[in-house]
Symmetry: C2
Subunit: 460 residues, 2 copies
């Protein structure tokens, strides 16, 4: 194969720096998940197709990566089926497994399958890759990590409160100050739909409302009209477009808008509970904001809806989201299991930290010292020192090939330079005899002769 | 779906304890990889089929999981091809991507693709899952992690020396003392084949020799005869069957057996170099042993061959292996790149640590304290304390639902018990008034009233 190899579109190779930065974000999230009492689980990369298909709508089914059955996968197919030449008909017959599309459905499957071994409420976190056959775009990949925390088995609103705190804790730990945690409630949206007489058009109406920021009031109204929402209804919405003030003030306005809707008032009550608790607990660096236009996940969220946006001035879609789904495990036959959870958008958080220069320098630090190799005898002596340094957990390396010319020695110095190794030890014949190490500081250029203990102290 | 859900055969769910124990092993390996100067990379879970197919032999090709093309995958297939109904013919046309089968081929692809951004010698580690459509058995899975470290771009034997040290460092850090690092050299095997006139039967002869431990001398000879290895040749092998003594003594015997084979003597020289260096550097807890019957990976290894076995008394196959391959990247068009690497068998190491009770208790420790919930007011007060504890990085939880009866309170205590949470805080009306925390030690049953600072001190 002379052709230069490549990887499938929408996938990525990660070099050492990428891995270090991504690990830093994931480890920070993981640490806070644990502090909040969440326990890790991991599920297989592929599930039985039955488990995944039909759970994400028609679009989702199409975007799920299917795995071809092994061996004689055409053998059991009837002539009639084969001759249909229909992808729709044949796919489930030649493919019985599929790559995980998200972490929520596998989690629901896990809970039902292991329900007898789980203590409820079950607080789990999961950080694993998922795969989607989406058209790749800037910032959208076919393989990407999800970082989810969910609780299943309790309807308590204290969980929503804790998830707001969890977002605050993670972004504070990442030094990403000033993120906005937007919150809404499916019940508010249902209440509004009820009040304007558009209960049967909840999705149409919220999809339009959700665009308020982007297309403005008049265009939103136009879209609603095009979806047959009455002028009278749109009139009743007017106060929504001018909802102002802080969380409390907005709640008061909503109370009057939704005064005739039982479900709407229930939504208000829930939001008030969360806001009151958060006010008394105080967030470290994030802001909690009510956003009645927030309408994500309406196919499954039944209560709170969350979305996190980057600090002002950073152009980026949401960097996290989540919500309450009252019947998480019903799809697998376990009823009445309310769940609530949030997710962190690793790739976008990465871009934000990069843009703001928030990755600590220390996380990409690799090898601390390189020993130049002048031949087998010097190298073996050097490796004795390297071994002692490593046993003290200092990242140390010996250049594997001997430098038998000045040019080759220069090559080794260049190698240290390009790898950003801060110290180089020159261990030649002379040093070997006098049992000292000539240590060069690669940024200052200074060179000193040290004994081993001094070297160890310098590198520690 | 009323049927209880399940996962594909050969795959596994991991609960919190599994994840913690597996992470402990992987983190320990990763730490030593870094100390030895290896840098992490990650590659996509699936590669273009071209990249993988034909790299692992016919059996390997069969065991690679193929991903079905998305959308109208039958559209471009000619009627003639379709009517052939041949899996062999149709597979590459309906599937252009495949799940990674190991980490070595993706690494070779990575090196060639990114050769201009890499400083050679390139020391990389990679810890990621791989997938094989193998028949699942005890200890053999269809999805499992590989933990690999390789160096590419140098032929120096100091690398073999360092890999022996790396095995020693990892198993010492895991407190798994007394593992045996077996070493052989492909050149020794080639030399023996040459001496007995069976150059064209290297694989037959080594496969037979490899069984010496299991089936004994006579049966090995019988198998060799059945593969048409001459009586004269088998006669010349006799000293191999009785090879005795330490590394040095065995080397001396080999020198006389292989005195007429140039390649054999080269192999001896390499082994001697490694043994001399390791003797002078001293291993912490592992043993290095010469094993001329060791014959893994002969399709690609060209120099050193490594295999690690668990301490004596533990019945387990190899827990690690590796070797030198002189032309790692040639398959992708980059010639003359010698590589050498080793791998750690995560699942088997797990079983060994479990059997010997070597997992530290601390790694599975989850939440430290649970606050019982007596109602919204008490819960909010509790959550203030929980928040402060969490900000001090103490794993703390509030039970989300209020206990409005003695029975419900007992349920919360049971929850703490089953989750093995060591402390419970009872924060009722009385405690709220007097601003103290009643803390119960769940193992001793003792209960004390503490103020917040005392609570913090207790839990730290």
């Amino acid at each position: 194969m002379a052709q230069k190899p490549s990887i499938p579109k929408g996938t990525r190779d990660f070099n050492a720096e990428d891995v270090a930065k991504r690990s830093y974000i994931m480890e920070t999230i993981k640490q806070q998940f644990q502090v909040f009492g969440f326990q890790p689980i991991e599920t297989p990369s592929f599930e039985n197709s039955d488990t995944l298909m039909g759970k994400y709508g028609e679009e989702g089914d199409r975007l799920i990566f299917k795995i071809l059955n092994s061996g004689e996968f055409l053998k059991k197919i009837s002539d009639e089926d084969y001759n249909s030449r229909s992808e729709r008909l044949l796919t489930p017959k030649i493919s019985e497994k599929a790559l995980r599309y998200d972490l929520t459905v596998p989690f629901a499957r896990y809970v039902v399958q292991h329900q007898n071994d789980i203590e409820f409420p079950f607080k789990r976190y999961q950080i694993q890759p998922v795969w989607r056959a989406d058209r790749p775009q800037k910032g959208r990949f076919r393989e990407f990590f999800q970082c989810d925390a969910d609780v299943v088995g309790s309807k308590s609103l204290f969980q929503e409160v804790e998830f707001v705190q969890l977002y605050d804790a993670v972004f504070s730990a990442l030094q990403l100050h000033g993120v906005t945690i937007k919150i809404n409630n499916r019940k508010i949206l249902s209440g509004i739909a009820e009040v304007i007489g558009a209960q049967d058009k909840l999705i149409d109406f919220t999809v339009a409302l959700d665009k308020l920021d982007k297309i403005g009031e008049e265009n939103v109204k136009e879209e609603m009209r095009s979806k047959d929402i009455s002028e009278d209804g749109i009139e009743k919405l007017q106060p929504l477009f001018t909802l102002k003030g802080d969380f409390g003030a907005q709640i008061e306005s909503l109370k009057s808008i939704l005064s005739t809707s039982e479900i709407g008032l229930k939504g208000i009550e829930e939001l008030e509970f969360i806001n009151t608790a958060i006010s008394s607990l105080e967030l470290k660096t994030a802001n909690l904001q009510l956003d009645v236009t927030l309408a994500r996940g309406l196919n499954y969220y039944t209560g709170a809806i969350f979305e996190v946006s980057a600090p002002e001035g950073v152009k980026m879609g949401s960097i996290g989201g989540g919500g309450r789904y009252d019947d998480l495990t019903g799809i697998f036959g376990l009823k009445n299991m309310s769940g609530v959870g949030i997710s962190f958008g690793l790739d976008r958080i990465y871009l934000v930290l990069e843009e703001l220069g928030l990755f600590p320098d220390t996380i990409t630090a690799s090898t601390k010292v390189l020993f130049i190799n002048f031949g087998d005898q010097e190298a073996l002596y050097s490796l004795q020192a390297v071994t002692k340094l490593r046993r003290a957990q200092i990242k140390a390396e010996l250049f594997p090939d001997a430098a038998v010319s000045g040019k080759q020695m220069k090559k080794q110095m260049n190698y240290a330079n390009k790898r950003q190794i801060p110290f180089v030890v020159i261990m030649g014949e002379e040093e070997l005899k006098s049992e000292v190490f000539s240590v060069k500081n690669m940024s200052s250029g200074e060179q000193h002769k040290l004994n081993f203990d001094e070297l160890l102290a310098l590198l520690k």
